[in-house]
């Protein structure tokens, strides 16, 4: 894709929940390694991917954000030993819920990224942005509810 085309592409807004112990550190690693990061992401640090309650994801998507990405430790590596196993089950069910509605399936993703995987972090973000850009704006965005403080 030429840089000219890129600038014309839809610029999505993506909400990223990153686990303090792995992917948030992975983000640091990406930064230290000077890997390029698209400016489309808002990263929220959480203490564990299991702390991201499904309501947070639903709320963001149904109010019109273009995508939500949850990043956690690889299964087996959870700082709290088993948090991400719960994340995984919830994630699967949440995906199934979106299947039932026939919407948002692509706009919600979970990925496992360790503290050492700076490259993987920036790759994941870049791919997510590209994919969501192709999907275009979240159709619920124009029907937005409200953002409260």
């Amino acid at each position: 894709m030429s840089s000219e085309n890129k600038s014309k592409a839809y610029q999505p807004k993506i909400l990223v929940f990153a686990c303090n112990w792995c992917s948030y550190a992975g983000a640091d690693m990406a930064g230290v390694s000077r890997l390029q990061m698209p400016p489309n992401c808002r990263v929220i640090r959480v203490m564990c991917s299991a702390r991201v309650r499904p309501e947070m994801i639903l709320s963001a998507l149904f109010k019109g954000i273009d995508a939500v990405l949850v990043l956690g430790c690889h299964p087996g590596d959870c700082h709290y030993s088993e948090g991400n196993y719960y994340t995984r089950r919830r994630g699967i069910i949440l995906k199934k819920l979106f299947d039932a509605f026939g919407m948002m399936q692509e706009r919600f993703q979970i990925r496992w990224i360790s503290a050492a995987e700076g490259v993987r972090f920036s790759e994941t973000i870049r791919e997510m942005v590209e994919r969501v850009a192709r999907l275009g704006p979240n159709p619920l965005g124009k029907d937005h509810g409200r953002f409260t403080p």
Binding site: P54, E55, L58, S59, F62, K63, G64, P75, G76, E82, Y85, Y86, R88, R89, R90, G91, I92, I93, L94, K95, K96, L97, D99, A100, F101, G102, M103, Q105, Q109, I110, R111, W112, E123, T124, E127, M128, R131, L140, D143, H144, G145, R146, T148
Partner: protein, 282 residues
């Protein structure tokens, strides 16, 4: 059978520790509604027929945990709810006197056919009733899947379907308040700090409301269909809950809430659960 029911209720109310007996009675315009019988002279009001829709166990968490005993009639589905309530420490087994109703399927209101909610009926396994009006086993002929499902709809059709369904929703809360599993003293949907839900009547807010309910019911829904019956607008809520239950069965082999004693699937995990999140983007 109603004679036996009244006899059991009467006997129960004679007990010194009896609080009240929850059953069904005739309601307005030919309907049946919950009845709270406290005095033996009122037992004649009790009925048992194919219009006894309400899941009476939903009332149990309202009663303070106490030594007094509550008599209650349960259909197979309700018994599953009761088992879930006991597992979730909302009801103590010794504080209920459980009378089983040998339900063979309820009728569609105003029609002479079995209600859609009753297809796929499963009675709980190895559940101890204190008394029953007949053998408490899963009725034959209801295992068919003749009810409507989302399976045959495409993504686009599903979107359109729910858009129309939720457009009907009037945000009255009946689905939530009638549900046996919605026993939280303060619901997240009522929280004001933070306020998750606004009173806007747009699709996003309605999707949020019903999604939160569906997710909180994952593995706890007994498929009784009371949400759909209570809905004044006729929103097809049962389809959503059933769809998710089907996924639980396929993914984790979970047959449904209250059939066995096992914990709901989101409260547990296996190290080798399916993992759709390991790879990159396919």
């Amino acid at each position: 059978m109603e004679d036996l029911l009244r006899k059991l209720a009467n006997e129960f109310l004679q007990r010194p520790d009896a609080e009240c007996f929850i059953g069904y009675e005739e309601g307005p315009n030919g309907s049946v509604r919950p009845a709270f019988i406290r005095r033996p002279e009122d037992i004649h009001r009790l009925v048992w027929n194919q219009k006894c829709y309400p899941n009476l166990t939903a009332y149990l968490p309202d009663f303070p945990k106490q030594k007094r005993v509550i008599g209650i009639t349960v259909k197979g589905c309700d018994a599953r709810a009761l088992r879930e309530l006991i597992r979730a420490h909302q009801v103590e087994r010794h504080s209920v006197y459980v009378v089983g109703l040998p339900c063979t399927g309820l009728k569609t209101p105003g029609e002479d056919r079995i209600a859609e909610r009753c297809f796929g009926c499963v009675f709980p396994e190895a559940f101890q009733y204190d008394a029953a009006l007949g053998p408490m086993k899963t009725p034959d002929g209801l295992a068919r899947t003749e009810y409507e499902t989302l399976d045959n709809l495409s993504n686009k059709e599903r979107r359109e379907f729910w858009k129309l369904e939720f457009e009907k929703c009037i945000r009255c809360d009946a689905c939530r308040k009638i549900c046996y599993a919605c026993f939280c003293p303060e619901c997240i949907l009522d929280s004001t700090q933070p306020r998750w839900l606004s009173r806007r009547q747009n699709l996003g807010e309605k999707l949020f409301f019903h999604s939160v309910r569906a997710l909180h019911l994952v593995g706890r829904c007994i498929g009784c269909g009371e949400c759909e019956r209570a809905c004044p607008a006729g929103v097809r809520l049962m389809l959503l809950n059933r769809y998710l239950q089907k996924q639980l069965e396929d993914l984790f082999g979970y047959r449904g809430a209250g059939i066995l004693e096992d914990a709901p699937p989101l409260l547990t995990f296996l190290r080798d659960d399916p993992d759709p999140f390991t790879g990159g983007f396919e």
